[in-house]
């Protein structure tokens, strides 16, 4: 699943490009997780407004 970092120069973007899962996990972490957080915040706000 995770492979050894093999690019010529160590770089964050090189790490993202090492395999399909590294990019997927990264994008889910920075897009989907905050959206879930925002979803529950807004849900709570709508319930309080009622």
């Amino acid at each position: 699943m995770f492979e050894q970092f093999t690019d010529v120069v160590p770089s964050f973007f090189g790490w993202l490009n090492q395999g399909p899962l590294t990019l997927t996990i990264f994008l889910h972490t920075v897009i989907i997780l905050p959206m879930i957080f925002i979803y529950f915040q807004e849900k709570k706000r709508l319930e309080n407004e009622k």
Binding site: Q4, T6, D7, V8, V9, S11, F12, F13, V30, I31, P34, M35, I38, Y39, E42, K43, R45, L46, K50
Partner: protein, 228 residues
């Protein structure tokens, strides 16, 4: 009033869009700076001190360049001045380029500059590909210097009647119409001798750039990798 769904709520979508756009902008700005650092050219000191750069300094034309399989990285990498046995460059073994292996950084830089301008003026990319840019009407030139056809056992030195790779390439560039190598013959573009030498230096330098194994099919050419 009926229960209001979060999915129909403006604020949810606005906040999500703001987050994703803002984060992507920061990431792209970071990527720009990261890329600039990676593609900046090395120096003569880097080569002398054995520092591996993705784009080596212009004096790399003084060194022997080979293309070898790196087991660690899973593709071929340019090896400059000899292999340490693990696929890393030693920066020791020199190779004469037009009779000299002591081209100064200034001379080498001027040759590469002339070659780059020549490649743009003659529009090589109309038919060839350089570092992923261009066409595939004619062969990919990214690793052309390492193409075994130009090597000591290849045909090009024989048909151009020149003793070295660089002289054969320069001769071909000046009179491509004399050497039919392909059904799609290269036209005579009026390249002068000086421009041809610059173009060959440009090609030799380009072959030393670590392109993460691009073009992928180059390694399948007989004789291209480890001389096999």
């Amino acid at each position: 009033m009926a229960n209001k769904s979060v999915w129909n709520d403006n604020r949810f979508w606005r906040r999500s869009a703001t987050w994703v756009t803002g984060f992507a902008s920061i990431l792209l700005i970071w990527l720009t700076f990261d890329t600039s650092a990676q593609i900046s050219m090395g120096t003569n000191e880097d080569l002398q001190n054995g520092v591996t750069k993705r784009v080596p300094g212009p004096t790399v034309i003084n060194y022997k360049i080979t293309y070898e399989m790196s087991a660690k990285r899973g593709h071929e990498v340019p090896v400059i001045g000899g292999n340490d046995g693990k696929g890393n460059s030693l920066f020791q073994e020199k190779e004469k380029f037009f009779g000299r292996d002591d081209w100064s950084e200034k001379e080498a830089r001027e040759m590469l500059h002339l070659g780059k301008l020549g490649s743009q003026a003659k529009n090589c990319m109309d038919c060839h590909t350089l570092l992923g840019n261009g066409a595939y009407y004619a062969p990919d030139l990214t690793k052309a210097w390492l193409d075994p056809a130009w090597g000591p056992n290849g045909t090009m030195q024989a048909i151009t009647n020149k003793p070295t790779k660089e002289e054969a390439m320069a001769e071909f560039l000046q009179h491509p119409e004399l050497y039919a190598t392909h059904a799609r013959m290269m036209p005579n573009l009026g390249i002068t001798k000086e421009e041809a030498i610059g173009l060959v230096a440009f090609l030799k330098h380009m072959s030393s750039i670590d392109t993460n194994g691009f073009p992928r099919n180059f390694g399948k050419m007989k004789g291209a990798i480890n001389g096999k």
